[in-house]
Structures are given as C-alpha cells and as structure tokens.
Amino acid sequence: MLGTGLLVFREVLEAALIVSIVCAATRGVRGRGLWVGSGIGAGTLGAIVVAFFASAIAAAVSGIGQELFNATILLAAVAMIGWHAIWMASHGRELAMEMKGVGSAVQAGSRPLSALLIVVAIAVLREGSEVVLFLYGQAASGASVVEIAGGIAFGIVCGVAVGFLLYFGLLRIPMRHFFSATNWLMLLLAAGLASQAARFLIQADVLPALGNRIWDSSAILSDHSLIGQALHTLIGYDARPAGMQLLFYAVTACAIALGMKLWGHAQGPSTRSSAA
C-alpha cells in the first residue's frame, strides 16, 4: 500500500503545486473556487478518458503520439499562463489597490479565468492519467481494493496537504508585492512547462537535443527527491537538461517577461502619461 500511496502522492503533488499557484494568483476573485473546482473536475474526467485511450494515443503518428500529445497540452498550458500573466501585469496594480481599499472580493471583470481553468485541468489530466493507468495495472495484477483505496487516499491527502502549505506560504507575501510575486511564479511555471514540452519533442526525435546533458546537478539535487520534484514542477528544475530544453525555457521566460513589461507599461501608472 505504501508503494501505491507514494506513486499517487508524487503525481498528485505535481498537480497540487500548480493548483496552489493558480489559487494564489486568483486570490480575492469572486467565484474562483468554482473555476478551480471545474478545472480539477474536467482534468479528472480527461485523465480517465486519456488513460482509456492510452494505447491509441501511443500508437498514433507512428509511435510518437504520446510525446506529441504531452508536448501539445503542455504548450497550451504555457500559452494560457502567458496570456494570464500579461493580463495581470497590466491590471495587477488596480487589483491590489482595490483589495487593500475594500478588503473583500474583487470582480473578475475581463480577467481570463478560463485560461487558468485550462491550466488546472491540464495539470490534473497529465498527472491523473498516469495514476489511472498505474492503478488499473495494480488492480489487474490482483491488488486488493483496500490497498488501492488506501494508496489513493494516502497519496491525495499528502499531495493536497503540501499544496495547501505552499498556498498559505504564498499568502504571507505582503499585498503590495503579492500579484507581482505570483505573476513571476506563473512565468517560471510556464517556462518549466515549456522545457518539459521540449523534452518530449526530443524524446520523439521531432527536435534535436542541442546537447543531451548541458549539466548534471543530480549529485546536488536529484530530480527524484521530493524537493527536486517540487522545484521541477514549480520552476522547471531539471538535473540533466538538454540544450533544447534550456532554449524553450529562456524563450518562454523572455517572451512572457517582455509581454508583461510592454503591456504592463502601456496600461500602467498614469504618472507616466501625465509626465509626457
């Protein structure tokens, strides 16, 4: 049961960390629970469907369907996070001011919450489909219901607990810096997801690696350790990255940062326009 629980935990953890960042970034938004909940629900359903069609997906596009599918949904998540981060850069200041002034919920307005719903759904779908396949295998090899149910419960409870720890940790950031902090976190999250997408495209031989192993920091922080895995999800840490992964990481981070600067300033403080 411990083995089952640990595997479920590792997968739940990755999704939970992403959900935590999204929850922090949507702090104070009325009805955000419904958005996040819908994302988790859609992701869970999607995970079951993807697991069911795993053979068909794997066999598609002459055997690289699994990589293309993963890379596509990862890049979709990157685009959604980028869109939201840039939107927040241009509206975050007003949001923070409104929250400080009123001290209560802020209307979502034109904020692209659907983008974050998709990010949550994708995170849950990716990790969830692995859990479903694993548990299906366990059940088929005769594991007892108690063992499987216990493993699921252990994994979900522990994974969600770590997610809550991160969430409440983030809430301690002073309100003045809060939205810019969560926005930078979203930027790093997107860059990390882009790096993962690149890894799948290298694995499928769609893209060249540009150097298989640019560095090896596994002796300092292994990908498989709890902290290594958490950082892998949060900021895209990879103990042995390929050159193409670093390229995807840098391009995504720069593109979102540039977008935040450009649009953040365009809509930014009125002092700028009055001075001009």
Binding site: A54, S55, A58, F134, G137, S141, G211, I214, L246
Partner: protein, 114 residues
C-alpha cells in the same frame, strides 16, 4: 535576478549549440528491451557511444508500465501488450540506469554505453 538567470541560460545554450554542432549525424542504432513479469530483459543492455539510439520497449505483460530513467531524462508509458519507441543520445560512455515506474521493486535495468 531573472535577467541574470536568463543570461546564464543563454550562455549555457551557446555551449549546447556548440556541443550539438560537433556531433556528426549518423544512422540510428536499434536496441530492444522486453518487459516480462515486471522485469526488463535484458537487465543490462549494451549500446554504442556517440550514436543516436532508437530503443524499442516491448511490454509483454498485460498491465501498463512506465519506462523511466533519471540518467537518460526519459519517461514514457507502455500500455499492456504494447510497444513504444524512445530516442536516446548520442550518449557518452557510461552506465545509465532505468526502471519501470509502476513496478520499481522488480523492473530495474541498466543501459551500458561503450
């Protein structure tokens, strides 16, 4: 801080491009692994260094497995009775452990690159 991170990535990227440029394109080397009773066969698979490897993983069990390796930076699900292809390398000589994520107690193996 972010800018520093990016410029560092940029420098590393430049090194990466040089490394990639120095690797000559060659034919892929075909290698094969079988999964049976949640174990890899062969447990030690030897492949040549400096050549791209096309690794076929044939899962003869009825249950799904995930071929995974931290050293090779690869992970891919193999459904029950399914086969997958994973591209690796070109690799430097050395030992690269891999495992089946769904049955880690038994599904362990090493890729030996010579």
């Amino acid at each position: 801080m972010i800018a520093a991170k990016n410029s560092k990535s940029g420098a590393l990227l430049a090194i990466g491009l040089v490394l990639a440029g120095s690797t000559a394109w060659a034919e892929d080397y075909d290698a094969k692994l079988v999964i049976r009773d949640h174990k890899f066969e062969p447990v030690e698979l030897t492949v040549p260094a400096g050549q791209k490897i096309k690794l076929l993983v044939d899962n003869q069990d009825a249950t799904p497995e995930e071929f995974e390796s931290n050293e090779l930076n690869r992970e891919k699900i193999v459904t029950g009775k399914g086969t997958i292809t994973v591209f690796l390398g070109p690799l430097d000589a050395g030992r690269y452990p891999f495992f089946g994520d769904f049955h880690q107690e038994t599904a362990q193996g090493v890729l030996i690159v010579k």
